[in-house]
Point group: C2
Chain length 361, copies 2
């Protein structure tokens, strides 16, 4: 399988070119959580799977839903369908999804002893279902668009591992941060090494770009962000195999609410930064210069509006980035489950149409 | 009553001096949600009241809990105990609190017709219980510390009025924003005028400073923040009676997650800005110069740590602001209900002790 995928020529390389800040004919677009509940075909597969976790852990089904938005829309990338909590699950914390309540870890880390016991999982063994899904999807894509792999950031994973699920206040994990920073540091070190191994295995299995989702870095103070979210991401970037079969594998860092720290993020040596919608793309570009590509950043709620308003908002972001390469259009966060899929088509097609003038000549 | 309060000399004027950027002997401190569930005496009064809403609407009880933290700690201000949703309640939307689930509005605004029907409530009549609580508290304080009045910002109130309660995605109110901006604009205009009237009535009833809590401004894009959160706050600032009985009444604006917009906020002509903990206080001070005082910004979760670590974190913020007047110490958001009150005492006393060198000579 590896040989087949490595020699299949990519028919649409806009994403990889934009990530390398090379010229493109139109701005590439993909959508965070593009394989998701807003699609009726996703809901049908999810129903067949029986549970969200079963969907994640069955390579054939994960592959199927990964490909659904690619069949429906003119998207420039596929992103493997999975969950950010696969690593804590592989570490033995026991992942479960409670309907309408989000993820739960059955055995959260509530003392230093349980943190000390954490081990880096063997990605090929314990997360083999993700690698199988990647291999299958890469083969099925047949070079139509590139395939993105991903992981949660160590800090973001740590919030779930300590809280046991989502949180509004992050009291437990931040209590650890302020009262026992050495214990949190150990947790983050083990998790960073786990993420690095996981992403490297994803690249070996066919991921042509990788992204680290730091969903909760924005709840930290600047000092704490640098120490407990950015430093572990740096540790990952340093361990990533950035070359695979002669190709550069770009890495994108995305800290939601991280608008104040873009320069520091760019200094990690990553290839691109994800932007949420609270940041202005022209301000971000001024801050990071040509060091990295930028991905984003339409407010997901714009997709509730009518097509003309969606086009107008997309046009503003394209104008904000302006001419030249290095922009990947996306939402500033995952698409909401009650969005009309027709509105997604409007967005995807508008971004291609409206962006051509910025790449001409 | 008015005559008594107006002639009672304020024994501790650190807060008002700091808000005017005048020299003080030590940095004043108060704590957002200082009258709250972390205090056993609050829980006892809340129990007696029967419900949270009853506690808000009974002036004697609201006064009682307002004074509790002042009796226990060496705080430099009292803030009237109330809820930010009193205005939507007075507008007839029907406020209720579901235990452990937060506020619910029984009749949320789900169409343009219901938005068009909104009227500015008469603060003295329909929010008279807040004014009664302020008059009583001001009298009971006897000039010990100044009394702060407050309101939610129009955008923040609008999120609850449209969503019907708290939200993770703000889909409904942002759907309105992107699809029917004129309707949202009308809602915000009426709400801004309501807040202005409400705060002016609070000042007449004894509030010596006022604060506008924009809890949810940070979920907006920069453009949307300016149009739909900051502009309505500007409308309020322009209508506020900034002089009362010969005294300047300072107004503080606080947008949680608004770190990128501090200069624009300072340009409203407000007296001070609240900072959440994601902003560095020295960076903020550089940005706004001497136009406004700054309030904040300890991560509320620092109070989970042991006393030495609390002191160290407080010291960092004091050093961050540095010498000179214009700093009011506070948390970057409300105190969590499971904080040990002894830790609050450590913080309050540490801020006074550690700040004196910055105000000496």
């Amino acid at each position: 399988m590896h040989i087949v995928t490595a020699t299949t020529k990519l028919k649409n390389d806009r994403l990889l070119r934009a990530l390398r800040r090379e010229p493109v004919d139109a701005t590439p677009i993909w959508i965070m959580r593009q394989a998701g509940r807003y699609l009726p075909e996703y809901r049908a597969t999810r129903e067949r799977a029986g549970s969200f976790l079963k969907l994640c852990k069955t390579p054939e089904l994960a592959c199927e839903v990964t490909l659904q938005p690619i069949a429906r829309f003119d998207l420039d990338a596929a992103i493997i369908f999975s969950d950010i909590l696969t690593i804590p699950d592989a570490m033995g914390l026991g992942l479960n999804f409670v309907e309408d309540e989000g993820p739960r870890l059955e055995r959260p880390l509530r003392d230093v002893a349980s943190i000390k016991r954490l081990r880096v999982p063997d990605a090929e063994q314990e997360l083999g279902y993700v690698m199988a899904a990647l291999r299958m999807t890469r083969r099925e894509l047949g070079g139509k668009v590139p395939l993105i792999g991903f992981s949660g950031s160590p800090w973001t994973l740590a919030t779930y591992m300590v809280e046991g699920g989502g949180s509004k206040t992050f009291s437990k994990v931040k209590g650890l941060l302020y009262d026992q920073p050495e214990a949190l540091q150990h947790l983050l070190d083990v998790t960073a090494d786990s993420v690095a191994g996981y992403l490297n295995a994803q690249v070996a299995a066919g991921a042509q770009a990788v992204m680290i989702f730091d969903t909760w870095g924005g709840v930290l103070s600047t000092e704490a962000y640098h120490a407990f979210s950015l430093a572990p991401m740096q540790r990952i970037v340093d361990q990533l195999h950035r070359q695979h079969q002669g190709k550069h594998v770009p890495v994108t860092l995305f800290t939601k609410g991280g608008g104040a720290w873009l320069e520091a993020m760019a200094n990690t040596g990553c290839d691109a930064l994800g932007l949420d919608w609270t940041v202005e793309v022209n301000t971000a570009r001024r801050q990071v210069g040509n060091r990295v590509a930028l991905q984003g950043n339409l407010d997901p709620c714009v997709l509730y509006a009518n097509p003309d308003r969606i086009k107008a908002q997309a046009a503003k972001i394209l104008a904000g980035f302006g001419r030249g390469p290095g922009h990947i259009f996306n939402l500033g966060h995952g698409i909401h489950p009650d969005i009309n899929p027709d509105h997604v088509k409007v967005l995807v097609d508008s971004v291609h149409d409206l962006s051509r003038p910025y790449h001409a000549g």
